[in-house]
């Protein structure tokens, strides 16, 4: 608990470190913050070309929004995913990468992953704002009503992501291989999450196969264990379909966020004093 108090007293540091991250990142570039849109836009163009134009995957029609557009279907899932993968991919290095600071100054170490998450969150906000404008252009006006809920779940996903990143950053102190492992795991994870394709395709395959090896467990049961599947579903419900997500999905998402945040927090509270000498 006293660790929580330390964290609260370091909120200004947290804010300043996040600001450092944001300001320092696009310094001396002509386009500045606009660069944070470049990656998602490139990904949208590539995936839409490959999956919609060449493989002819049909995007499901938004219910009740009536939106029928693969690029928008994709981006509603892609932006939350990119946020998560950036937080985890960069977060895994946040302790080792700041070893200079950790070995020279005392401050609650947990501000490092949290400020990193905040900085990435800031870019994400920017991307999501552009997405909502795009949705308005294709006349999904109902999305406006869902903006507060979208914001709320963005925060929930941020809590989940930073918790995972905290655990990963500590593991990486002990095993430096972990960084490389995470970057490969993220690739698998991306394709195992319904970003490029709708869940209904997985459902269809699962129904065809039935229980795995004679057990009642089906592929879709395993598939849904992925927390990111739940988060993506919630964001698609809100943004693409313009309806409320299932209560069960909401509870699962909140549960994952709580577990990840507690695990990260407890790990930091325990290991924080040793970090300087482990580096």
């Amino acid at each position: 608990m006293s660790y929580l108090r330390d964290l609260v007293s370091a909120r200004e540091l947290l804010f300043n470190l996040a600001q450092r991250e944001i300001r320092g990142k696009y310094k001396r570039t002509a386009l500045g913050q606009l660069w944070s849109l470049a990656n998602p836009i490139a990904a949208i163009i590539i995936y839409t070309f490959v999956f919609s134009f060449i493989f002819q995957i049909d995007a499901p029609v938004g219910d009740p929004s009536g939106v029928d557009n693969y690029a928008l279907f994709l981006v509603c899932g892609l932006l939350p995913w990119l946020f998560f993968s950036r937080v985890l991919g960069q977060g895994v290095e946040v302790i080792v990468g700041n070893s200079g600071l950790i070995q020279k100054v005392y401050f609650p170490r947990i501000v490092l992953p949290i400020s990193l998450t905040s900085a990435i969150f800031f870019s994400w906000l920017f991307e999501m704002a552009v997405l909502i404008v795009a949705l308005l252009i294709v006349q999904a006006f109902a999305v406006v009503a869902f903006v507060p809920l979208v914001l709320l779940f963005m925060v929930v996903l941020a809590v989940f992501s930073s918790g995972v990143a905290m655990v990963a950053s500590i593991v990486n102190v002990y095993f430096r291989d972990f960084f490389y492992l995470v970057s490969i795991a993220l690739q698998f994870w991306f394709y195992l999450t319904p970003i490029l394709y709708p869940v209904s395709l997985v459902q269809a395959q699962s129904d065809k196969l039935g229980g795995i090896l004679g057990t009642p467990v089906t592929i879709i049961d395993l598939y849904r264990l992925n927390p990111m599947e739940t988060f993506i579903e919630i964001f698609r419900n809100l943004l693409y379909d313009n309806r409320l997500p299932d209560l069960s999905s909401v509870l699962i998402a909140l549960g994952w966020a709580a577990i990840a945040a507690c695990a990260g927090f407890i790990l930091f509270a325990r290991k924080e004093k040793e970090l300087a000498e482990l580096l």
């Binding site: 200004e12 540091l13 804010f15 300043n16 470190l17 600001q19 450092r20 300001r23 320092g24 310094k27 001396r28 200079g100 600071l101 950790i102 070995q103 020279k104 100054v105 005392y106 401050f107 002990y174 095993f175 430096r176 291989d177 972990f178 492992l181 004093k273 040793e274 300087a276 000498e277």
Partner: protein, 245 residues
């Protein structure tokens, strides 16, 4: 009875010297959980009182454990056994400009570094002019710090740290940087610091500087406290011991 700023009670610090370390997953799998190491006690039962409003020096040969003790005092390492208690706020300056962001301007870095050292935004606003003044970099305030000369870099870092105004300041070998004029200024600032009833704990290899700065000095050798006393007496004995080697 004078008031104590820092109380060090029977502090031990153990490091593990690894012969084979499982720092990759492969080695962990291949060898199981065994990693061979031997314990090294860098500090062996140090007890020390630092009175409020004094400047206390730590001296000793390389590898004697004085830097480990300083890092324990700065809360960067935590004692394996024993306890350190503080009476007041603490700031440490083990390396100037740690935490500077090279692409950001001097102005932005003052706010960033100040908050790393534990200052609030308001406190930095209030101290801003003084920090800039002391560092003497006002002309380059809006330049990115990567364009600073090493002297400017150090001066800015030092000015921020000294203006945090903690009750207890822990300083490593940082005074030896900067030119003579800046050193003079820094020593004056330390004196001011002391008059305000603040406490400084400092490490340096420059005995002349230590003699000038410190009221009391602790000599550490082989992780143990050799002696504590008035600075000139301890320095004299330390130098004699050094020469006899």
């Amino acid at each position: 009875m004078t008031e104590l700023a820092v109380e060090v009670r029977d502090v031990w610090k153990k490091f593990r010297l690894y012969h084979e370390r499982n720092q990759s997953l492969k080695s962990a799998f291949m060898r199981g959980r065994t990693s061979r190491h031997e314990d090294f006690w860098a500090l062996q039962g140090i007890s020390l009182d630092v009175e409020k409003g004094t400047t206390h020096g730590l001296i000793g040969r390389n590898g004697s454990g004085k830097s480990t003790l300083l890092k324990c005092l700065a809360k960067i390492y935590w004692p394996t056994r024993g306890e350190i208690s503080y009476n007041g706020t603490l700031a440490s300056l083990l390396e100037v400009g740690s935490g500077f962001h090279l692409e950001l301007s001097g102005r932005e870095n003052i706010y960033l570094n100040g908050s790393i050292l534990g200052m609030s935004r308001k406190a930095i606003d209030k101290k801003f002019d003084e920090i800039v003044d002391f560092s003497g970099i006002e002309r380059f305030l809006d330049q990115p710090v990567k364009n600073y000369s090493s002297g400017m870099y150090v001066r800015l870092g030092f000015s921020i740290a000294i203006n945090v105004e903690p009750d207890i300041l822990v300083v490593d070998e940082v005074l030896s940087v900067g030119d003579a004029e800046f050193q003079e200024k820094s020593i004056k600032k330390f004196a001011e610091f002391k008059e305000q009833g603040r406490t400084i704990i400092v490490v340096s290899h420059s005995m002349a500087l230590m003699d000038e700065l410190c009221d009391r000095i602790t000599w550490i050798d082989g992780g143990q406290l050799k002696e504590t006393g008035s600075s000139s007496a301890v320095i004299a004995r330390y130098l004699k011991d050094q020469r006899s080697l």
